[in-house]
């Protein structure tokens, strides 16, 4: 039985390796100027006035894939929340306010607003410049946690009502779905970017539904990261096992 399994693995692995090598031999040359898919993607994104082709691919040409990725993140965070919840034999011990070295405190409080605004900027300009909902969301969410470095856990908990972030996580996923269904109701395909005017090229409001889907992803990722880190922080700082159990 074990031998058979090994054989199966070997055959599958060899087949995969052969296919990968064959695919690599057919790739366009490294650093070449022309790419069949790239050319078509750029053309399609320019036709819909989206300056950042990557955003056009993510939120227009392949918006359905992004819905899948978004659901993966949502499910993963949901799983973490379930696994890391406070168990029956654990209790919460509020951590002692910690002493923070002055340079660390000054640096964290200085960088926090800058990082937060940078994150929001990256989300808002996803359709124009590199970045988008995912990148900006992660930056904005991690920026908030500089408060943990600069002050202490209590201060972070005060500016982070967890329920709000959990709700906004779910609302953002729903918003993405609703935007997709809106185009179905309008008589086109799910998530087809034909509903809104495409606007003027290279302005904030260009790209039709791209900025909206991008904002939904930004909101989802930011809240998901905050919720995820909150549960990890709770486990690392607050939740303790009962002694003697």
């Amino acid at each position: 039985m074990n031998r058979l399994r090994l054989w199966l693995l070997a055959v599958g692995g060899a087949g995969l390796a052969a296919l990968l090598v064959a695919a690599c031999l057919d790739l366009p040359g490294f650093g070449g100027r022309h790419h069949p898919y790239g050319d078509r993607a750029v053309q399609a994104s320019l036709a819909r006035h989206t300056a950042n082709t990557i955003s056009s691919v993510n939120f227009d040409q392949r918006a359905y894939d992004t819905l899948g990725e978004m659901s993966i993140l949502f499910a993963a965070v949901l799983g973490c929340v379930v696994l890391l919840r406070q168990a029956r034999d654990e209790h919460r011990a509020p951590p002692e306010p910690a002493e923070v070295a002055r340079p660390v405190r000054r640096y964290a409080l200085l960088v926090l607003p800058v990082a937060l605004v940078t994150g929001l900027y990256v989300v808002a300009h996803g359709q124009l410049s590199p970045g988008g909902g995912f990148q900006g969301g992660v930056v904005a969410a991690t920026a908030l946690h500089l408060l943990y470095l600069g002050a202490d856990y209590g201060a972070l908990e005060r500016v982070r009502p967890l329920g709000v972030y959990e709700t906004s996580d779910a609302v953002a996923v729903c918003a993405y779905l609703v935007l997709g269904l809106a185009s179905v109701l309008a008589g086109t395909a799910f998530l087809a970017n034909t509903l809104l005017p495409y606007g003027t090229f290279n302005t904030l409001s260009s790209g039709g539904a791209v900025p909206l889907l991008n904002a939904a992803v930004g909101m989802e990722v930011a809240s998901a990261v905050v919720v995820l880190l909150a549960h990890f922080l709770d486990q690392a700082v607050e939740i303790e096992e009962e002694h003697g159990s």
Binding site: G31, N52, I54, V122, P130, G131, G132, F134, Q135, V138, V139, T142, H145, V225, L228, L229, F232, L233, Q235, A236, V237, E240, E241, H243, G244
Partner: protein, 86 residues
Amino acid sequence: MADALIVVVLLLVAASATAAVAQRDPARQALVLSFLGTLLAALFTVLQAPDVGLSQLAVGSALTPLLIMLCVRKIRRRGRSKEDAR
């Protein structure tokens, strides 16, 4: 010129990835991982993929090391409280 830059960044990535594997202490590993994440972001930017570079910078050099550090802290704290209870 661009090719030389790519080779240099690739070598740096390989070196720091090896360092991350060779380091045995998880807390230090997280720091090396964060450095590796920054280098990978630079590599992606040099290879003209700034979008991926940004994701790498945000996730690889900030979020993942932070999660690892928090896990290490939890495990160490649990070890300490077990010893106290004895």
